[in-house]
């Protein structure tokens, strides 16, 4: 060891130092993804609407506030139990808008198609998108198509963008969590991620699970009906509950604690995670949200969620504290505690 180095003042000098190229982890929703956003995109595009780093931007217009967002979908396999890339593309953008309390109205769809894709396959995907848009109550009002050479894409990539209207008096945002807030999840965790893994090439393990892919705007409307004062809404997609809670804790400068025993985790998800050495709180969902609400409204919101089909298994799992700001802590099944940090990149199955 070099004696000239002063360990007390040593800090990591360059956040992006270890990978000079994009690696898969940059798309994994963990620390690498957030560094890409914080150190590259956000500084380059800096503006008030972007800087909140919400699921969608809320922009003021003469006609009121609009929520505006975009999302791209690259998924293998294209079809999986409970949906396909088309249902994901519609519901993903609808949900990002809903997390700002917005009523989603209009979507656009951009398709990047690989040469050789059967038209029948594309037909199934587009039909599924139309059906999902109908369920969510949105219209797909513009689109674009590009074709790339065979071998330069995985069949279909889809980008969607969406616009929604934010009602007066409603403003959930990742930086609004306050000490005392109650943390509620809308239902079973990890279902989508395990359903996809269970049919992925080389890992077919026949879990009896279908993706939870669903539009959450109806559930959010039901919640906002009992109180417009919901502090934070976040859909639990890539990176799962743990990533969402970490992002909220950091954005709001608060600590979040939850009790593992209260997490709604289906047996099939828990078993698959145990087998693969994964943790359900990091597994992706496509039809679940976490809400942080003032304690006075928690029971009402929970009740409203449980009346809705997509919130029937909603549960209070924890609370916000002014202690340990920026850090998420879980109380473990046997009564210990542990830090629940951001993952680096993707969750990797453990060796043994």
């Amino acid at each position: 060891m070099t004696s000239a180095i002063d360990f007390d003042t040593w800090a990591c000098p360059a956040p992006l130092r270890s990978y000079p190229t994009i690696v898969m982890g940059h798309g994994g929703g963990g620390r690498l993804s957030s560094e890409l956003v914080e150190h590259l995109f956000a500084p380059a595009f800096r503006n008030a609407a972007l800087d909140t780093l919400g699921d969608a931007a809320v922009v003021p217009t003469d006609a009121g506030r609009l929520a505006y967002t975009t999302d791209s979908f690259v998924v293998r396999p294209l079809f999986f139990p409970g949906g396909n890339i088309g249902t994901l593309a519609v519901n993903g953008t609808v949900n990002d808008l809903a997390m700002m309390g917005a009523q989603p109205r209009f979507l656009t769809a951009g398709f990047i198609l690989e040469e050789g894709l059967p038209l029948a396959t594309l037909g199934l995907i587009v039909e599924a998108m139309a059906a999902a848009a109908g369920v969510a109550g949105v219209q797909i009002v513009a689109g674009d198509t590009k074709v790339v050479d065979r071998g330069h894409g995985d069949g279909v990539y889809i980008n969607t963008s969406g616009i929604g209207v934010v009602p007066e008096g409603v403003s959930p945002a990742p930086n609004r969590a306050a000490p005392g807030d109650i943390v509620i999840v809308s239902g079973d965790l990890g279902v989508h991620g395990i359903a996809i893994l269970s049919v992925r090439e080389g890992l077919e393990f026949g879990a009896p699970l279908a993706s939870d892919c669903a539009p959450l705007n109806g559930l959010v409307t039901a919640m906002l009906t009992v109180t417009p004062d919901i502090h934070v809404l976040r859909d639990l997609t890539r990176g799962g509950l743990a990533t969402a809670l970490n992002e909220i804790a950091r954005a709001s400068g608060v600590g979040i604690r939850y009790d593992e025993r209260r997490l709604p985790v289906p047996t099939a998800v828990a078993a698959a995670c145990d087998m693969l050495g994964m943790d359900p709180v990091y597994v992706a969902n496509e039809g679940k949200l976490v809400a942080l609400v003032p304690p006075s409204a928690a029971d009402l919101v929970l009740e409203a969620m449980r009346w809705h089909p997509l919130g029937a298994r909603a549960a209070i799992i924890g609370e916000v504290t002014e202690q340990h700001p920026g850090v998420v802590v879980a109380r473990t099944a046997i009564g210990g505690s542990r830090v629940v940090d951001l993952q680096i990149g993707e969750q990797l199955p453990r060796i043994c």
Partner: protein, 371 residues
């Protein structure tokens, strides 16, 4: 979940904690050998709930952590070659070699794939006869049967395009090396349950006798770990040194005979370098002579590789139980899971990563206000 919830029961855990507190009269240092046990201890917060006299020392039993730098560098070199499909268990992809990791090689065009079983790599070799399929065969006695089976199958199928980069390590020689180290502080061992499910525990009986050290075969669920600790403490307090099996639902004394027979056919014992520790004599397996054709080191000319370990990393001392991860000057500063200097920070089973992930911040109490 049946067969798991029974071993995570909070009421029984509390009773075991009480039992351990009741019998503990003075400080004891107990090493859990396996990285899977370390993971379980930190993930469940077991170390915080044990009496302060009991110190759990995290052992060298993380296969990712002890795989030597030279082998990682060879893996990187092979994986970067055109025509090669390099298959690995997932958590090896982020282990830093001298300059990069397998993720980086993949991003630069290497065909690196995560597989869940070495037999999947054999299948790939069958379906891609035009490609050289290489499997990264690392681990302890636990992963060895499947890796051995892959080579055995490839041989039976006559697959000429399959090979394995082998860096297998063995637990008993590591325990000997630790006990004979002049700086050793370990007073009892929790042996790795899954290693013993393959090898049995007859191999450990001579170690118990030679070093007068209690060894308790221990599982991985919270109650398994607590039962292992309870039995180790009971022996230490009574001045006994015995071989005990606290994981009888998975482990028999003789182990898995067919697996051992296959291992004896495919592998032979060799000296092995352990990352951060050094060469331990007769502490590893390599492919036996008759399977040498499947040895990736021989097939790809990667003999002369210069390695460069970070000078700041103390993972060797961590692996020997001489240093807690949090006592390393680099911990959480220049060394994090995002920018690991050593392998102990990489694998989720590595002691440093386990501390960073779960134990970095431990509040005194986290009562939840609402029922």
């Amino acid at each position: 979940m049946k067969y798991l919830d029974e071993f995570r029961n909070p009421e029984i855990a509390e009773r075991l904690f009480q039992d351990i507190r009741a019998i503990t009269t003075r400080p004891w240092a107990i090493m859990e050998v396996c990285g899977g046990q370390t993971h379980s201890i930190i993930r469940n917060g077991i170390d915080q709930l044990l009496p302060p006299e009991i110190e759990l020392i995290h052992g060298p039993g993380c296969p990712v952590c002890v795989t030597p730098l030279a082998i990682i560098d060879k893996a990187l070199a092979i994986a970067a070659r055109p025509g090669v499909v390099f298959c690995s268990f997932g958590d090896m992809l982020r282990v830093p070699g001298s300059g990069k990791d397998l993720f980086r090689v993949k991003s630069e065009g290497g065909d690196v794939r995560i597989v869940y079983s070495p037999l999947d790599a054999v299948k790939l070799a069958q379906t891609h006869p035009d490609r050289e399929v290489v499997f990264f065969g690392i681990g302890f006695e636990t992963t060895a049967p499947a890796n051995g089976m892959a080579v055995y199958q490839a041989d039976r199928l006559g697959l000429r395009n399959f090979s394995m980069l082998v860096s297998h390590v063995l637990v008993p020689p590591a325990i000997s090396a630790l006990m004979e180290s002049p700086t050793n502080r370990v007073q009892a061992f929790l042996a790795a349950g899954h290693v013993c499910s393959v090898m049995g525990y007859w191999e450990y009986e001579p170690l118990v006798a030679r070093y007068r050290v209690p060894i308790v075969v221990t599982g991985f669920e919270p109650l398994d770990v607590l039962e292992g600790v309870r039995r180790a403490v009971a022996q230490l307090e009574a001045g006994r040194a015995e071989m005990e099996n606290a994981y009888p639902r998975a482990v028999r004394r003789e182990g898995n005979a067919p697996a051992q027979k296959m291992l004896a056919d495919v592998f032979e014992v060799t000296d092995r370098a352990w990352r951060g520790i050094g060469v331990i004599p007769q502490s590893g397996w390599r492919l036996a002579d008759r399977y040498r054709a499947y040895d990736a080191e021989a097939r790809f000319d990667v003999g002369d590789i210069r390695t460069q370990e970070s000078p700041l990393c103390h993972s060797g001392e961590v692996l020997q139980g001489l240093l807690k991860p949090t006592q390393c000057p680099a911990f959480g500063k220049e060394c994090t899971p995002r920018t690991p200097l050593g392998a102990t920070m990489v694998s989720s089973e590595g002691a440093c990563a386990a501390y960073y992930q779960y134990g970095r911040f431990i509040p005194a109490d986290i009562p939840l206000a609402r029922p």
